[in-house]
């Protein structure tokens, strides 16, 4: 058996052993309740997609006109129906489906990237993705290339009660720079279902990846992303996560290993818990290299009967490393619950400097009255303060992404009125 065959068998064996393994956090789901996704035909142009699909995609930052984008990937259910790299980025950037990448670069994928940052036996969700038919995007930016326009990807669920299994890989070679905007959403007719998404990101020496994810689900939908990142010497990983709509349950705890010296990871999360949403989000930074740094900022708002967990874990493993966690929450309803769970560990690294600020508090009445004294009605004042609270300053965020987030916040503020 070849090395690749052996690795495939190993992945299958590991996954098989974990099919019933519940996740560490979040409600346990019975995966047999979801149907397998059907194939969907590819499209020649994004413009040919149905109007409702295009509009829904735009809400999560995916622009079907592809204006201002360097490349696009669109997956519907389990099928990659569209992918394109703008001509000017042709030899700099590769976008294809993960299945295609496995065929085109089998050694590279199985040896270095496929199931290397996320373990197939982590829990039943990774196992399902490993064992089922999955697609996802493969994005590679060539060494030294700076892609100055965002790459956009949309993972779209079009059918009711299916399990969308996704496995994506992003590779930034040495000195490369890119921002990837991934929006995950569902067709308005879809009520329930599951999105299980594996993301493995590799940030090379001196490379910089800005990964922005906007989620837009519905009240009976379940979401279980599993994300693993490694960052090499002087590399930078910036993660921005935005979830402003109701969901049945969502649990995610992306982990970044800062293996290279002076590498850095930044996590910004904005979550709005509505209706009966159960949201458990977090981030983990493992600081292994010398001079590594990490910052995590989370802003959570909960209304109605929602439950929101905001976790942040920092693990210092090097005597010269420094990380800070800042999570703040506002609870708007007596039927809502929020947890802020900072979690710091220094492992054999007495020089590691790890710190956190965590706070859950109401909107200060004094601030509301202040705005009212300038003539702003009370509900509008509360909305302005809430939007301000969620409007995390994200340094280095491309303006196009900033506008998407502002748009989403604006819309949510309007809806909440």
């Amino acid at each position: 058996m070849s090395a690749i065959e052996e690795r495939k068998a190993e992945i299958a064996r590991l996954a098989q052993a974990a099919v019933a393994k519940p996740a560490t956090f979040g409600p346990d789901l019975d995966l047999t309740q979801f149907n397998a996704a059907e194939d969907v035909k590819s499209v020649e142009s994004l413009e040919s997609l149905d109007k409702q699909v295009k509009e829904t995609a735009l809400d999560i930052g995916f622009d079907t006109t592809e204006k201002g984008r360097s490349g696009s990937y669109f997956q519907m259910d389990r099928s990659p129906i569209y992918r394109k790299v703008e001509e000017m980025f042709d030899n700099k950037l590769e976008i294809m489906s993960t299945e295609e990448a496995l065929v085109m670069y089998p050694e590279l994928m199985y040896e270095k990237y496929y199931w290397r940052n996320v373990a197939p036996d982590k829990d039943k969700y990774t196992a399902q993705v490993a064992l089922g038919h999955t697609e996802g995007y493969f994005i590679r930016v060539k060494a030294g290339q700076k892609i100055d326009k965002p790459i956009q990807a949309c993972l779209f669920v079009s059918e009711n009660n299916i399990s969308q299994n996704v496995h994506s890989v992003i590779i930034l070679e040495e000195g490369a720079e890119a921002s990837v905007l991934t929006g995950c959403t569902i067709h308005p007719k879809v009520r329930n279902g599951l999105h299980a998404g594996i993301s493995e990101f590799y940030v090379g020496k001196g490379a910089k990846l800005t990964f922005t994810m906007i989620h837009n689900w519905s009240e009976d939908f379940h979401v279980r992303p599993r994300t693993g990142v490694t960052v090499e010497e002087d590399g930078v990983y910036v993660s921005n996560y935005v979830m402003l709509k109701p969901v049945r349950s969502l649990q995610t705890f992306p982990s970044a290993r800062l293996v290279g010296d002076r590498s850095r990871a930044v996590f910004n999360s904005i979550v709005y818990g509505l209706n009966d949403s159960y949201v458990d989000i977090g981030s983990e930074a493992i600081l292994e290299g010398t001079g590594t740094r990490s910052e995590a900022t989370a802003r959570t708002v909960s209304r109605d009967r929602s439950t929101v967990y905001s976790r942040g874990r920092l693990i210092g493993k090097n005597n010269d490393c420094k990380a800070h966690l800042d999570c703040r929450g506002i609870v708007f309803s007596e039927e809502s619950t929020q947890w802020a769970i900072p979690d710091l560990a220094s492992v054999g690294a007495p020089g590691a400097e790890l710190s956190h600020e965590a706070a859950i508090s109401p909107i200060a009445a004094e601030e509301v009255f202040y705005l009212m004294s300038r003539g702003v009605p009370k509900t509008e004042a509360i909305s302005m303060i809430t939007r301000g609270f969620l409007n995390v300053d994200i340094p280095g965020l491309p303006p196009a992404l900033r506008r998407q987030i502002d748009r989403a916040l604006e819309q949510t503020a309007k809806d909440a009125m």
């Binding site: 200060a364 009445a365 004094e366 601030e367 009255f369 202040y370 705005l371 009212m372 004294s373 300038r374 003539g375 702003v376 009605p377 009370k378 004042a381 302005m384 303060i385 939007r387 301000g388 609270f389 969620l390 409007n391």
Partner: protein
């Protein structure tokens, strides 16, 4: 002008106000006509800020007796924002920081809709009050005393209230900033309302320093929850600095 001012802008009659069941104001009577600037003196803790906050409508200031009429309307049932839109503005002594809300946004909302010329006004305010470094910061977040006062003045110049309440405009401000704040107060109080006299003001001051920059027409001393005397603000301050508040409220120059 006087013919248009038949009805005084603000009339406070026999006002009693309690905070946490403790009576702070015990029968205040005060009338401010259009175009007048009044000065409220008095020792700390005798009700000056309580009076301003009650006019603004902040919760926690319970009117137990008497009433406040503004432009002929009883304010009792009106919310803070409704009073603001009627033409009452306030420069707070220590305004709260609001995370994520920029000074620029507050100036915009204070300007109100449909007035036009937002950009010019904003540029003008930024220039006059030296706000270029503050305009895109979270309002009052980490502002120095002088910066907070300049920010308050910019918001009020955008709002252009008919009656502006100034709570200790000189406190925590260095001399340079007092001059800037004073100039802005003058600009506000001297600006003309179409078809009316100039705007009106009520300035709370503990030290009286702001009167070096802004002219007050009538001074009052608020003592033990009542307006104890009335007169030329500068004369009152002179008297107080010589004899202290206690003697002042008994003295002869008082008109009340």
């Amino acid at each position: 002008m006087a013919s248009q001012s038949q009805q005084p802008l603000l009339v406070i009659e026999d006002l009693y106000v309690s905070v946490d069941d403790r009576e702070i104001l015990s029968g205040v009577n005060l009338t401010i006509a259009e175009g007048e600037t009044h000065v409220l003196l008095g020792p700390n803790g005798h009700g000056k800020t309580t009076l301003l906050n009650t006019i603004v409508g902040l919760p926690g200031y319970r009117v137990t007796q008497g009433h406040i009429m503004f432009k002929g309307t009883d304010l009792a049932e009106l919310e803070i924002d409704e009073r603001a839109r009627m033409g009452i503005g306030i420069a707070f002594q220590r305004p709260p920081a609001v995370r994520g809300v920029k000074l620029r946004q507050l100036i915009e909302v204070a300007t109100g809709e449909g007035t036009g010329g937002h950009d010019e006004l904003l540029a003008d305010l930024v220039g006059q009050l030296g706000l270029s470094k503050l305009i895109d910061r979270d309002v009052n977040m980490g502002f120095s005393g002088g910066e907070a006062k300049r920010s308050e003045m910019a918001q009020l110049l955008a709002q252009m209230p008919d009656l502006t309440l100034f709570d200790e405009p000189e406190s925590g401000v260095d001399l340079d900033n007092i001059a800037v704040v004073g100039k802005a107060m003058n600009r506000l109080l001297k600006s003309v309302r179409a078809g009316h006299a100039t705007r009106s003001g009520l300035i709370v001051t503990h030290t009286g320093h702001i009167l070096d920059y802004v002219n007050g027409d009538i001074g009052h001393v608020l003592y033990n929850g009542r307006l104890a005397c009335k007169g030329n603000p500068r004369d009152l301050i002179k008297e107080i600095s010589k004899h202290g508040y206690e003697k002042c409220v008994e003295c002869a120059i008082c008109q009340r």
